[in-house]
């Protein structure tokens, strides 16, 4: 009985796929979208390892590592219709020292006005289809938490100085831990103009991430109060919340 149901379900799914392809307008074939994440401080790109920046708490800081996970990308049409990028292919590491580009393929043609994505991995929904195949990438990027089989949603490291502290290390590793701390967040951004996806266009979208918001967002984070924030039931959720206000879709070009 179970077997029959299982087979039947997979059949229906396959069937839907097949039908879907036929339903979509054959004159407008799917297209691509290139999303560029541009991490900034004071409106400018970040100079790693050397330049000292200052947060609202007047703490000077130098960034040595800045990475975060972007997932579950969804494009939203004017009428609210959502087109989700296949979940299994929708996990990316944005690395200030390496790739900050996400190239999406085979997206349904159409005109979109919003983009939605997750910061981190939605561990509440395990097992998510395909999330396991993100492991090798996360591993390579140092975003896998071996001891918990979980992901670091944000990895932000460097040194900081205040009037009384000189060049001390700071570490922020934000993630979800078992069922006790869920720091996965989603953001929805308004696009600056209509995003047209289709066969004949290859648009790119620039998303700016204001890294100062990590410290000075909805919540204020001071490194002199705590400089090593990892499994932290108080500060980690605050930072996760700050991240949601960090992004802005600033430009679309074709």
């Amino acid at each position: 009985m179970k077997k029959t149901i299982y087979l039947f379900l997979s059949l229906v799914v396959l069937g839907l796929y097949a039908c879907d392809d036929e339903d979509t307008d054959t004159t407008t074939k799917p297209g691509t979208l290139d999303i560029e994440f541009n991490n900034t401080i004071n409106g400018e790109g970040i100079t790693m390892d050397t330049k000292t920046y200052t947060n609202a708490g007047k703490e000077g800081f130098i960034v040595s590592e800045l990475k975060y996970i972007v997932s579950n990308i969804v494009l939203i049409k004017k009428d609210g219709g959502e087109v989700a990028y296949p979940v299994a292919d929708s996990y990316f590491v944005i690395d200030e020292n390496d790739s900050k580009r996400i190239l999406l393929k085979d997206i349904q043609a159409g005109e979109y006005t919003k983009v939605k994505f997750g910061i981190g991995v939605d561990q509440s929904k395990y097992p998510l289809n395909g999330v396991a195949n993100f492991i090798p990438t996360a591993e390579e990027k140092g975003m896998l938490w071996s001891w918990s089989a979980g992901y670091k949603f944000l990895k932000f490291e460097g040194t900081f100085s205040t009037e009384t502290i000189e060049d001390e290390k700071f570490v922020m590793h934000i993630g979800t831990h078992g069922t006790t701390q869920d720091n996965y967040k989603e953001v929805t951004l308004d696009l600056p103009s209509v995003l047209t996806i289709g066969e004949d266009v290859s648009p790119s979208l620039e998303v700016e991430a204001d890294i100062l918001k990590v410290f000075d967002g909805t919540n204020t984070i001071e490194l002199s109060t705590k400089s090593d924030i990892q499994v932290d039931p108080v500060n980690a959720p605050k930072i996760a919340e700050n991240l949601t206000a960090m992004f802005e879709a600033v430009n679309i070009s074709n």
Partner: protein, 351 residues
């Protein structure tokens, strides 16, 4: 693959009913029968959702091969089965805390691997909430297998036998992290311990307790079953059972993942099936015998701040009031939880 395409095409054209006749076809052609994960009559419902990873014969065989393959570790020697030995209900025999590659020493004792399909969370602190993810920890931990998934995938892809086995076990034929984890789960969820003397009594299959065991069962229900609850012998909660803190490890337990002070020194209530064989006992393997465990419950407890209220008595004494005879009776009962059938089940055996 061809079949899938054919069916997909068909499902567009035809209505639901006239699809049914072809439903049985794929599995017989595949020659990869589904395995039935039977829930014993005296067990609760499964927590593992088999609809997302239905065990099949080929998937199980692949999972077993991976489980016993040292190539999942960096030194090519330490397999899952190295720390989880069938003879000891899939625990690590004789080592206090588990050893990994190059003799690296972990800080915790390997729990038995049985009835995993009924658990809500894994490890002594519950850090993992889905069985499919559990192997990520030992595979990538330096003190255990010290490998990477990228590395394993490369090794497996070079082995024609594995190429064939993944091909047979999974529809997308891929050697990837997801299929490695799914195969390991298919192997592990089939390991059910449900044929101990206790089970046969509970299911009224003709077995009976001796007087000693029966007395122990009554005492167990009074003093132990509120935590070591039901047929799984755990309520799956996290508690502090009064162990003195071991300075060497200072393992804070559940607090490691919640960061909360009220979770310090709390550990998942372990199941007690096959307990006769899963020595040494407790998260750090500090007790070698059941006698030592019972002595702890009677007179060895300390309050490290979060001790379970159940162990606090009005007179200030910490622990359960059990005479030496009663302790022996409880131990006699605990030994009725040994499941020889599982320990000798060739389906799970390395050789």
């Amino acid at each position: 693959m061809l079949i899938a395409f054919f069916l997909a095409g068909a499902s567009c054209a035809s209505s639901e009913e006239n699809l049914s006749p072809v439903l049985e076809e794929p599995s017989s052609i595949d020659n990869n029968p589904k395995l039935v994960l039977t829930v014993p009559e005296n067990f609760p419902e499964l927590t593992y959702d088999t609809s997302l990873n239905a065990p099949t014969m080929k998937g199980f065989e692949l999972g077993k091969m991976l489980f016993y393959d040292g190539r999942l570790s960096s030194d090519g020697v330490v397999s899952c089965g190295f720390c989880h030995m069938q003879d000891f209900a899939f625990t690590h025999h004789s080592h206090i805390v588990s050893h990994g590659v190059n003799g690296a020493i972990g800080t915790r004792n390997a729990p038995p691997l049985h009835n995993l399909a009924f658990l809500n969370s894994f490890n002594w602190d519950g850090v993992v909430t889905h069985l499919d993810l559990q192997p990520v920890i030992p595979i990538t931990a330096e003190v255990e297998m010290n490998e990477t998934f990228g590395g394993i995938i490369q090794k497996l892809k070079k082995d024609p036998e594995y190429v064939d086995m993944f091909d047979a076990a999974f529809e997308n034929n891929k050697i990837d992290a997801e299929n490695i984890l799914k195969a390991l789960s298919q192997f592990m969820i089939m390991i059910t311990s449900s044929n101990s003397k206790f089970d046969k009594i509970e299911r009224e299959e003709g077995a009976v307790f001796t007087d000693q065991e029966a007395a122990g069962f009554t005492l167990f229900n009074t003093h132990c079953a509120s935590c070591h609850k039901g047929t799984l012998f755990t309520d799956q909660s996290f508690r502090n059972n009064g162990l003195p803190i071991d300075e060497k490890y200072n393992d804070i337990g559940r607090s490691r993942i919640s960061g909360l002070p009220q979770d310090r020194y709390k550990f998942r209530v372990p199941n007690l099936r096959n307990i006769e064989l899963t020595f040494p006992y407790m998260h750090d393997g500090r007790f070698g015998t059941l006698e030592a465990v019972l002595e702890h419950y009677t007179s060895g407890m300390v309050d490290s701040g979060t001790i379970d209220p159940l162990f606090k008595n009005d007179d200030g004494h910490l622990g359960l009031p059990l005479t030496p005879d009663e302790q022996q009776q409880i131990i006699a009962f605990l030994k009725t939880l040994t499941d020889d059938q599982l320990l000798n089940d060739s389906r799970f055996a390395e050789f």
